[in-house]
Symmetry: C2
Subunit: 171 residues, 2 copies
């Protein structure tokens, strides 16, 4: 699909068909994630691919019952690794670059999903400690995004945007 068409067709999808995602598509999504730019090419994050039904249900509960997280055939949990960036960039790596690295990677997957006929939504509202426990990660990692992905079962309306005049200033 053309790049600008992908951008135009992108929505936050919160309802998924039961249909599984083909392994080749999952692979493609992960490769796109891995191709995203990061500060100093450090890629200061880890991605956890969750397919296990029980774990997905627990992730949904830890996200204040956003049930589509359990409904989606897969969830990607993006966890920042602040120390990985801090070793080179100090505080700025720890508190900014690591968040940006993971977020850019997630944004790439969210867009790529559209091209593959899939949908997803970037979820930030969850209990981090509980998610960490569910996916059993070390204390050095911090989950910041859950991205449920699947074949869409809804066609959401376009959401509102600020006017360009409000968002952008030329100086």
């Amino acid at each position: 699909m053309e790049f600008f068409e992908v951008v135009k067709k992108r929505h936050s999808i919160r309802a998924f068909q039961k249909k599984k995602i083909e392994e080749e598509k999952i692979q493609k999504l992960l490769e796109v994630a891995n191709s995203a730019p990061s500060a100093g090419d450090l890629q200061a994050y880890q991605i956890f691919l969750v397919k296990d039904e029980k774990k997905k249900e627990n992730l949904a509960k830890a996200s204040w019952d956003q049930d589509f997280i359990a409904q989606a055939p897969i969830d990607l949990v993006f966890c920042i690794d602040p120390l990985r960036s801090a070793q080179r960039y100090g505080k700025r790596g720890e508190t900014l670059y690591s968040i940006q690295d993971a977020t850019i990677s997630c944004a790439y997957v969210h867009l790529a999903a559209v091209d593959l006929g899939l949908g997803s939504v970037i979820v930030g509202a969850f209990d981090e400690a509980e998610v960490s426990r569910i996916i059993d990660i070390p204390l050095t990692l911090r989950p910041i995004i859950i991205l449920p992905i699947g074949y869409p079962d809804e066609k959401p309306e376009k959401t509102p945007r600020r006017s360009l005049d409000d968002l952008v200033s030329e100086i």
Copy 2:
């Protein structure tokens, strides 16, 4: 251009031709920025489009002499507006969502530039207070990214990536 081709051709571009960017292309980039998803559709950031030669030179100096910031025909400065997100989401909006909102928007522009034959690089290393002074923003805003954009004057090599096995765990 096909979406996956855009992703594949994307590089961090740090050398730009003198050639100006057509206004329609700048407009397209800003519209893509504005189409990016954000927490609660709040778009907790502001974008400053800098064309002024003197200001670009000062931005380059404030970025520890990353001269390509002055060389690029335009720079976009992405500033988070933490309070805009905090009003609804509290601390999480202030310290996480606002950064993510601005970063996703910037990631979209960085990709869209490739489709338009342009190049850019996501710059995070600069003196925030100095950049704030140069673009003359209120204290409620915080600049987190400078994105210099222009026609590329280099074809960089592919930069290294972690292996997928290292980056991703299936659980």
